[in-house]
């Protein structure tokens, strides 16, 4: 089913139309501008909380303007994901997230029509050279000291295998150039409203030892920290001499002197190529 729909999508792209041809699961409203407008409002009400006003990602949810999406290819798959959510992620099933009420089938198709209308086709030739980006990522740019891609690299920062599929090029560039502007989201805990940010933390223990790292989790009484050597510290707040959290990311700010625009494009191309797998 997935392959057939993907094939249909490719055909549709060739024909320059959003009308898909496979089975009755296809979007009955595909390409309808009026439905896309209604879908925009439905999107604002039900989706934009996480995916952002223009569907370009809002810090929590992936950018949906990418033609190639992380979890779905066809409209039918998108319909399934909106209806049933994605287990193990913050994506809830329709009507269960406590923020919005349930959408009708028609409203879901409207939203899909809207998302399709917002899609930005990837340029035919990538801006960067993925192979060189890979060398940089695991080599001179030091990304892999903290970030893991496809099982290789460090654990201190967010895992980036899927980031090329879920974020725009601009978002990736921005988070390298200005890592503190919007902290990445870490732990996804079903019982919390939103996952926790990758906050930097500095604590001084009772015996005077300073630990710097990122919070893995925290409540009013305890904190779980990973330091830059990937050591996990389990601490009771009441025993600490000091506890200081900061929204200054532990990631260094890569300016153009540290990483040229061209090299950064190569790294983005590498991440996009991995994400597309």
């Amino acid at each position: 089913m997935g392959n057939r729909c993907y094939f249909a999508l490719v055909v549709a792209m060739f024909l320059g139309t959003a009308a898909y041809t496979a089975a009755q699961n296809d979007n009955p409203l595909a390409g309808d501008a009026k439905a896309a407008k209604a879908g925009e409002y439905e999107f604002r009400i039900n989706c934009a909380l996480c995916h952002g006003l223009g569907a370009r990602g809002g810090g929590r949810g992936p950018d949906l303007t990418r033609a190639v999406k992380k979890h779905t290819h066809s409209d039918a798959e998108m319909f399934q994901v909106i209806s049933n959510g994605i287990p193990g992620t913050a994506m809830p099933a329709n009507g269960t997230n406590g923020q919005g009420v349930g959408m009708t089938d028609e409203e879901i198709w409207q939203i899909i029509t809207y998302i399709r209308s917002q899609e930005v086709r990837a340029p035919s030739t990538p801006l960067g050279v993925a192979a060189h980006g890979k060398d940089l990522f695991f080599g001179d740019a030091n990304c892999s000291l903290c970030h893991m891609v496809e099982g290789k690299g460090g654990r201190f920062g967010p895992e980036l295998t899927g980031v090329g599929a879920s974020r725009t090029r601009e978002a990736i560039v921005d988070s390298v150039r200005n890592p503190s502007r919007q902290l990445a989201w870490g732990l996804t805990e079903a019982t919390k409203e939103f996952p926790q940010e990758y906050e930097s933390v500095t604590v001084v223990t009772a015996d005077g030892k300073e630990i710097k790292g990122a919070t893995l989790n925290e409540d009013s009484f305890s904190v779980q920290i990973m330091d830059t050597n990937e050591k996990i510290h389990l601490l009771d707040k009441s025993t600490l001499r000091s506890f200081h959290k900061s929204r200054q990311s532990a990631m260094p700010k890569y300016d153009a002197d540290m990483l040229s625009d061209k090299d950064l494009e190569d790294i983005v191309a590498f991440l996009v190529s991995v994400g597309a797998k």
Binding site: V101, T191, E193, S220
Partner: protein, 577 residues
């Protein structure tokens, strides 16, 4: 819903337990078995009574079981609920809504040694918002998807279970939740997600009556714990997200016959109807989804109402939109309105005023207080409904001015826009449905609060029966700092925040105060926390493994005090070791 509970009324657990207990061969149970065999309809009445008494007494002697009095819960007992602090007879503990317990066995001196006494797993998923009732050793509570159950309050062992058969196409706006039961006589009362009111036999869980209040397919539902007053079961509808016309109903506790209905959106010819533009009143919202309070001295119910519909878009419903976001004083016998006070006129930010209105008598004044979702703490004269004071108790940017009565009114630029406009508090409010508490010892009002701002953006939506009807969307402001939750202690006399505790993240837990000098609340990280009432310093906590969306309560059985709260999908009871 699991298959196990699909057959509705469920007693297997209690039957199994009964059978096991009376089976010979279980050590220590033979005396009971012997006596049980003697039960028989053919025996003379005197013998049967004597045997029943012997069983009960022997059971009590051998197993330390308290001899439980199964006296009926009369209206008089509800009026005097504060005089039996071992029981928790209404949603907020008593009619005043104080959520204060006179029990002081658990106190400042020993709270550090508090332990979990039992946990009851409801095995349901979603948010558990129930406040249990306890009557003479038996706990009655609800879970998601309209499940109700009775437990042995000493052990958490189930006595009966009721599972409502809910249609697949119900419209719960904000989770398949339920906040609890009312009890009167020998029945408990449940409002359901498909907008029925039902009475269950308190001893068996069997349905006694079941009435339809409204059509669930047009967005009506019940999530509220009903309030039993006199011989009436008072309950308010949910559905402000679907453009229902809100109402508060009262049903005869014996028969289920509806005795009165008060529409919270006045119809043609009724006072207040002129506050709605055109036909907007027909889909005006103003639901009544949280439990009100009751003043026996004046026989008045104080019931709060929610947002006008659509919640975030004022266009098309010009006017004050009475009686949305109001406190209503209603004659309990007739359902007639005595007075109203509207907290937020023509609301465009989803600031339901459905917070529990707390009855306070202080310095000879008859007062009623509410910490409102719009960020202000209101103190009213409960005889007249006149505003005494309104004081911000959290971050707010929507109101810089007051009207002639002193009521905060919205700034001109506070309305949502197409591009989005940031306003504090956000749509979830400074507080929400979580119950506050008033401690008559400290004379402080404690409430869960959050400082969060949202960007409100319009999204015009036509009304369609049974479909979402918001008219706008909201998001955490992108520029906003991380937002926090608090437990705040307010002096009602001045509205001043006297103390606060900052949670790691905002919590949906309610608050309980006790005569033990303690305030109890929970957090989003799953902790149940005991605070010193005057300092809000945490003295004890327990990690329950699931976020809290419910309010704590206290009770006692066999002279032992317990504090209970729902978290995750379970109910926890704590006591001294």
């Amino acid at each position: 819903m699991t298959e196990e509970w699909k057959s509705g009324h469920f007693r297997a657990a209690s039957n199994d337990r009964f059978n096991k207990a009376f089976r010979p061969g279980v050590p220590g149970l033979k005396p009971l078995y012997f006596l049980a065999r003697l039960r028989g309809a053919e025996a003379p009445l005197f013998h049967r009574v004597a045997r029943a008494f012997a069983i009960a007494t022997l059971g009590a002697m051998i197993y330390g079981i308290g001899v439980v009095s199964h006296a009926q819960v009369t209206f008089e007992r509800l009026v005097n609920a504060a005089k039996e602090p071992q029981n928790w007879l209404t949603y907020s503990g008593d009619y005043s809504g104080k959520r204060f317990s006179k029990l002081d066995q658990i106190n400042l001196g020993n709270v550090h040694s508090l332990v979990a006494r039992w946990v009851y797993q409801t095995a349901a998923t979603g948010k558990l918002e129930t406040t249990p009732l306890v009557v003479d050793g038996i706990m009655y509570a609800t879970a998601q998807d309209d499940r109700a159950f009775a437990l042995d309050a000493r052990t958490g062992r189930p006595i009966w279970m009721y599972q409502r058969q809910i249609p697949a196409d119900i419209r719960p706006c904000c989770g398949r939740v339920n906040r609890g039961l009312a009890i009167l006589g020998d029945k408990v009362f449940l409002g359901t997600l498909d907008a029925h009111v039902i009475a269950l036999d308190a001893k068996t869980g069997a349905v006694v009556w079941d009435v339809t209040a409204a059509d669930y397919r047009t967005g009506h539902s019940f999530t509220v714990a009903p309030l039993a007053v006199n011989n009436l079961i008072v309950i308010g509808i949910s559905g402000g997200e679907y453009g229902v016309r809100g109402f508060i109903d009262a049903y005869d506790a014996d028969t289920g016959k509806r005795k009165w209905r008060f529409y919270t959106v006045p119809g043609p010819g009724e006072p207040g109807h002129e506050t709605w533009e055109g036909d907007s009143w027909k889909v005006g919202g103003a639901p009544a989804w949280n439990t009100g309070t009751y003043d026996p001295a004046t026989n008045q119910i104080f019931w709060p109402t929610g947002n006008p519909s659509p919640s975030n878009r004022g266009e098309g419903r010009a006017g004050d939109n009475l009686y949305s976001n109001s406190l209503l004083a209603i004659n309990a016998d007739t359902g007639k309105l005595n007075w109203y006070f509207q907290f937020t006129r023509h609301d465009e930010h989803d600031w339901d005023a459905t917070q529990v209105p707390v009855i306070i008598d202080a310095s000879g004044k008859k007062l009623i207080a509410q910490a409102n979702r719009n960020g202000f703490f209101y103190l009213l004269d409960r005889e007249t409904g006149k505003l005494i004071s309104a004081t911000a108790y959290g971050k707010q940017t929507w109101s810089d001015t007051r009207d002639a009565e002193g009521r905060p009114i919205a700034n001109k630029n506070a309305s949502p826009t197409l591009e989005g406009h940031t306003v504090c508090p956000g749509a979830l409010g400074t507080t929400n449905f979580m119950s506050p508490t008033y401690d008559p010892v400290t004379e402080w009002f404690y409430v869960t609060a959050r400082d969060q701002c949202d960007t409100f953006s319009t999204a015009p939506q036509p009304y369609e029966a049974g479909h979402a009807f918001y008219g706008s969307a909201y998001f955490p402001s992108e520029e906003a700092e991380p937002y926090f939750g608090f437990l705040k202690a307010i002096d009602p006399a001045t509205g001043e925040v006297k103390e606060k505790f900052q949670h790691t993240s905002p919590t949906w837990s309610g608050v309980l105060s006790t005569a033990g000098g303690l305030v109890f609340s929970g957090d989003a990280e799953g902790n149940f926390i005991a605070f010193q009432d005057k300092t809000l310093r945490p003295l004890w906590h327990f990690q329950m493994g699931g976020a809290v969306y419910a309010a704590p309560m206290a009770f006692a059985v066999d002279g032992k005090e317990y504090v209970a709260i729902a978290a995750g999908s379970a109910i926890y009871a704590f006591g001294l070791p």
